[in-house]
Symmetry: C2
């Protein structure tokens, strides 16, 4: 289920419930907005592609499972209930053994593949 | 414990662990930054004062307990794992029966009392 408009903005958003509604991994779906920032939930499974966002930091909050963020010279494991911010311009690759459910926070218009493009670029601005 | 500088930014932030370190309610402490936005954890207990932030939306993610957000003509109960965004300019009052542990997200420089000022205005930019 994806919709192009925000659901009822006057109700709190249950993040896990939203993440569970997404029918496939690597398909971020918007759940809320704050000024020009977007809150997205995403299911992560396996490995993504290397990319960076030269213009913005990117925040990850893990809802369930363990998110691995590969950096060029290290990797970070982010557990449920933990927050991690990838600084702007830093090459990174998200991954999970099994599945991780994650909320991302970033400015409107940021693509999941940064400036890499390609077939794994997800459509933006889809709500769930 | 409060510090004036960010702890190790290369490690994930365990939000509940941070919230547990705060020694009193209504004392937001920074745990991370993303561009010009700040992530703060706060313990909420009892009722705050009515205020608004004319210049910005304000996001609340509940970590533990139930956060009540009073609005002029309604109130919202936000449970653990839920996100709620108070739109800019909307008068609101946060409250909790017992205690709620909450993460807030807002632009750097936003005061907890908005433009109301007064004795309940917390110092900004304290990390934990």
């Amino acid at each position: 289920m994806s919709i192009s408009q925000s659901p009822d903005a006057s109700a709190p958003v249950n993040l896990m419930q939203k993440a569970t509604l997404i029918d496939q991994p690597w398909s971020p779906r918007m759940v809320a907005e704050m000024n020009d920032y977007q809150f997205k939930v995403v299911r992560i499974e396996g490995e993504f592609i290397w990319h960076s966002h030269p213009e913005t930091d990117e925040a990850f909050l893990v809802l369930e499972g363990t998110l691995r963020i590969d950096l060029l010279d290290s990797c970070v494991h982010v557990q449920a209930g933990e927050l991690y911010v990838v600084p702007r311009g830093i090459a990174h690759r998200t991954a999970a053994k099994g599945e991780a459910k994650v909320m991302m926070i970033e400015p409107r218009g940021v693509l999941n593949t940064g400036h890499e493009g390609g077939e794994r670029t997800a459509e933006n601005d889809l709500w769930i």
